[in-house]
């Protein structure tokens, strides 16, 4: 573990330009600065549309920031996600930077157990071990065993979300981005996810999260971060 921040966001700005809508520009934030240390969970606060998800996606490399840097501690050095080559970003995502989105987006017709194993297989974990760990996690998340061999397309929202969570917690990502991972879960399942998050934090993960559920937020947040303070002038 390192005492350096695992995420450093420096002077980040994001403006969307919609070329097919008369080049409308939508400024979201500017000069945004944020650091997250190991064991810390920073919760993004602010109302809808303030740019929480945009910030998170910019950190993940999914959105291309207009300016600034996003440095992620990977393999003993910082990688600037905004400047890195695609293969470097993918390598950082494969081993360091995890992301739990609100929605499950996977290849249709692949069984759930296999989907959950995938992040381990990509990291060279043997098939049997990957299968056992996936089974263990799906049990912990109380996904009925009868579902494991089925593709998740027909699952309920809460079940799909648990598959998504399993995919992200099966590896111990040092840096984890959580975009409303508990949005469609019931109280018991939320508690399980809170436990998973706390365990990962205790082991030194750095996290940035968006939680609309105040109980979950209060349970896991080290501090709140108001995105609106960096609101870009329109």
């Amino acid at each position: 573990m390192t005492d350096k921040p695992l995420i450093i966001v420096e002077d980040l700005a994001k403006t969307f330009v919609l070329h097919n809508a008369e080049s409308a520009t939508i400024p979201v934030f500017q000069d945004l600065t944020l650091q997250v240390a190991a064991g810390e969970c920073v919760v993004l606060a602010g109302e809808s549309g303030v740019g929480k998800s945009t910030l998170m996606r910019s950190i993940f490399g999914n959105y291309l920031p207009t300016q600034g840097a996003v440095k992620v501690w990977h393999d003993g050095a910082y990688v600037d996600i905004t400047q890195a080559n695609p293969h470097e970003v993918l390598e950082v995502r494969r081993r360091t930077l995890g992301y739990v989105s609100q929605f499950l987006r996977v290849i249709p017709r692949v069984p759930t157990l296999q989907l959950v194993m995938e992040p381990l297989l990509e990291n060279g974990v043997p098939f049997e071990e990957a299968r056992d760990r996936a089974a263990e996690l799906l049990s912990a998340l109380r996904l009925p065993q009868a579902h494991w061999d089925l593709p998740p397309a027909t699952f309920s929202g809460g079940e799909q979300q648990r598959v998504n969570i399993a995919r992200s917690f099966i590896r111990k990502y040092p840096v984890l981005l959580l975009d409303e991972p508990t949005a469609s879960l019931d109280a018991e399942n939320r508690a399980i996810v809170v436990r998973l998050i706390k365990e990962a934090l205790a082991e030194g993960a750095a996290m940035i999260g968006i939680f609309h559920d105040l109980d979950v937020r209060d349970a896991v947040a080290s501090r709140l971060f108001e995105v609106s303070q960096f609101k870009a002038a329109a």
């Binding site: 070329h19 291309l64 050095a77 400047q83 695609p86 293969h87 290849i107």
Partner: protein, 265 residues
């Protein structure tokens, strides 16, 4: 280039520079340049007539470009311009080190010989003579692409479109290529067959560490298969980048139009 300190970036497997193809006065593709690394999957997307297939054919040695270079890290000659090789050397390199999966299995298979013979042929072309070993290897590959191995002696026409495509995939991977070209590999298939084939292709690419250049007009296929994308319009590359970034936060007007035009179901 933002190299990660303390690690040496491996040499590119393929390096394309200034690649241009004119058909008389008509532009096929202009000034295309990129590097491909071992194990990397590059998607080329764009509408019909944007130059995707011209580019793929130029890169894969099927169509001599008007100008520019396609350098490949060949086993025998190292990193070398494939159009600088003699015809026999280039053909041998293509047979030994490349695969090409066509959209239409009929373009990639020999319809008069059995499915098994189609799969085994690349081994034979590379000098394999032990019949038993070739047959075993063929059975292994038919199994790997999830085909009934008891049908090894059936002719391709007796297989469904999806199965023919699996035979073509096996035929193009059996000899252990390092680079595989795919031209709309799921283009002619039912969506039901498409998803399973894509999953299979993805597994094989991951397990074999293959580098792939895949041409598709289907953004969903691009998202599932490719690590990064090149977006083409009017023969030129208008945008490149990490696949999900190009699709979720496209920068170029044409890419924005392309992505926003995808129908949702």
């Amino acid at each position: 280039m933002n190299a990660i300190p303390g690690r040496i970036a491996p040499a590119p497997l393929l390096s394309v520079e200034g690649l241009t193809k004119w058909y008389g006065h008509v532009l096929g593709c202009r000034d295309v340049a990129f590097d491909l690394r071992p194990g990397e999957v590059l998607g080329i997307v764009g509408e019909s007539g944007s130059g995707k297939t011209t580019l793929l054919n130029c890169i894969s040695g099927k169509l001599t470009p008007t100008s520019g270079e396609v350098r490949f890290d060949t086993r025998r000659f190292g990193l070398t311009d494939i159009y600088g090789l003699s015809e026999p050397d280039r053909r041998r390199m293509q047979r030994e080190e490349w695969g090409f999966v066509h959209q239409n299995p009929r373009d990639g298979l020999r319809m008069r010989v059995s499915g098994g013979a189609n799969v085994a042929e690349p081994l034979m072309n590379l000098g394999a003579r032990h019949y038993g070993e070739m047959r075993q290897s063929t059975i292994d590959w038919l199994d790997r692409v999830e085909l009934d191995t008891r049908r090894i002696d059936d002719k391709p026409r007796n297989f469904s479109g999806g199965m023919q495509q699996r035979i073509q995939v096996a035929r193009n991977l059996i000899h252990g290529p390092r680079l595989v070209f795919m031209d709309e590999p799921t283009g002619g298939l039912d969506v039901s067959v498409q998803a399973r084939l894509l999953d299979l292709l993805r597994e094989l690419v991951r397990d074999l560490g293959l580098a792939v250049i895949i041409v598709t007009h289907d953004m969903a296929v691009a998202r599932l298969m490719a690590d990064r994308l090149m977006v083409m319009k009017g023969g030129e590359v208008v945008e490149t980048g990490l696949t999900d970034q190009v699709l979720d936060d496209p920068q170029h007007p044409y890419t924005q139009l392309l992505v926003s035009s995808v129908l949702q179901i």
